[in-house]
Amino acid sequence: MEFRFFHHFGSYLLMLKGMFSRPENMRMFWKEFMRQCVDIGIGSLGIVLIISMFMGGVTTLQIAYQLVSPVIPRSTIAQIVRDTIILEFAPTLTCIVLAGVVGSKIASELGNMRVSEQIDAQEIMGINTKGYLIMPKILAAIIMIPCLIAIAGFLGIWGGQKAGELGGILSAEQYWQGLRQDFRAYNIFFALFKAFVFAFIIASVPSYYGYHVQGGALEIGKASTSAVVVTCVLILFMDYLLAALLL
């Protein structure tokens, strides 16, 4: 078991090392990078919009349900919603969803290319396939996922306000007052730092699983599932580790 772990970890590191070489053609690399930016960024925008709005709304309702004391001002709800969304829900929950959406897509795309010998075809042409196929995915994820998380943060907080107003829990003024209370800019830095780390995991781990598929359609499915599971576990582990180290 531990040997398999070391085997996979070693292969993963070698894959990362293999990515770093001068692109054969910068224009083609840029084209592939932009395609990945669109796939990862625009392709996941819809699901991020939906989950972040509901995430904010539900957070407001649940906090209001628990904070029933008359001595606690209503604006405190907004303060808790803000910090919960910025520190945890926007980066972690969004990335768990993106691990499923983006991760499975990356793993199955590369797996299919491997099984149908498209990667071999590029290798024979003299292309460094790790550099041409994996590097743009990782770079695109590192750029686009923090943007998605920033959007998720804003929309989550906005969703929380709307849920508060619709449920008659607190007014927009109270909510905005709460948002401004004890605001710490460091929390934004922490959320974005987490976003970069998670983005790297979301792109690199499924790339590893997809790139090393051997077999057929069944193995592509298995690789895709394993990629999502391992990515989610790693995100949760890193979430804990970063919270312990940086907060």
Binding site: S116, A121, E123, I124
Partner: protein, 267 residues
């Protein structure tokens, strides 16, 4: 010319190629034939560098491919075209974009020149009309032809074809064989084909290497095969009664030719 000098390849304890020495000649269609599991695919993958050899040398026109730096290998690879068994076309690209891909990656010149070259290659494989179609919209035979167009677009010195006729009807197979043979002669390419197809063997086999259990069992041309006394080769090539009868008829025909009578006397 591609030379394989004492190449050895294994996976773990299992030895696939114990010791193979062979030469693939320039301007000829070189065939690697053998039953499933005889090591011909591994041999081809070693030749193109998709698998490293454990021992031995692979020489491309005298240059040792096995001991080259990655940069040098890349240069050699840009002179290699390969047609894969499943065509290996890029699903997300049209036929035209597939053929354009190697040119865009490595080709020099304007976009117009590149496009002209793509159209020239597509015309060569009679697929100019399918330029805007996606691989999912064309037949297996057409995919193979697109694969050939993509393989020759950079004017390669070496062309590798892995089972070019698998899954094709006999008529389309003949068309593909003829196309490969014509291209080999036209551009003086070193062509290496890995095949099971007996039509290809008899029609295109200028130089044939028969692999048996990872070893080179027999070497010769399609004409030599008719008179070969190698039992294993005969069992493989002329497996059915029909083919055995066809062989005898061909032997009779060829025996009537004076050249062959003289050759057999010499042997």
């Amino acid at each position: 010319m591609i030379e394989l000098v004492n190449i050895k390849k294994g996976f773990g304890d299992k030895v696939i190629l114990p010791d193979v020495t062979a030469t693939m000649e320039t301007g000829k269609v070189n065939l690697i034939i053998g039953s499933s599991g005889s090591g011909k695919t591994v041999m081809m993958k070693c030749m193109v560098g998709l698998m490293p050899v454990d021992e031995g040398k692979i020489l491309y026109d005298g240059r040792d491919f096995t001991n080259m730096s990655e940069h040098e290998k890349k240069e050699v690879r840009q002179q290699i075209g390969m047609l894969f068994q499943g065509s290996a076309l890029f699903d997300s690209m049209t036929v035209e974009e597939n053929v354009m891909f190697p040119l865009e990656m490595f080709g020099k010149g304007s976009h117009k020149d590149k496009r002209n070259r793509v159209m020239e290659c597509l015309e060569r494989v009679q697929l100019k009309d399918a330029a805007k179609k996606y691989p999912a919209e064309i037949s297996g035979g057409m995919k193979k032809r697109v694969g050939i167009a993509r393989a020759i677009v950079l004017n390669p010195k070496y062309l590798f074809c892995d089972e070019p006729n698998s899954g094709l009807d006999p008529q389309t197979s003949l068309l593909i064989d003829k196309l490969i043979k014509d291209l080999t002669l036209e551009y003086n390419i070193t062509t290496v084909i890995n095949t099971h197809d007996m039509n290809t063997v008899m029609e295109s086999g200028d130089h044939i290497v028969y692999m048996y259990k990872g070893r080179k069992q027999w070497e010769g041309s399609n004409k030599d095969i008719i008179f070969s006394k190698d039992e294993k080769l005969n069992d493989f090539i002329f497996a059915s009664d029909f083919l055995r009868e066809a062989k005898e008829m061909r032997q009779m025909e060829m025996f009537q030719s004076q050249d062959w009578r003289n050759k057999l006397k010499k042997d």
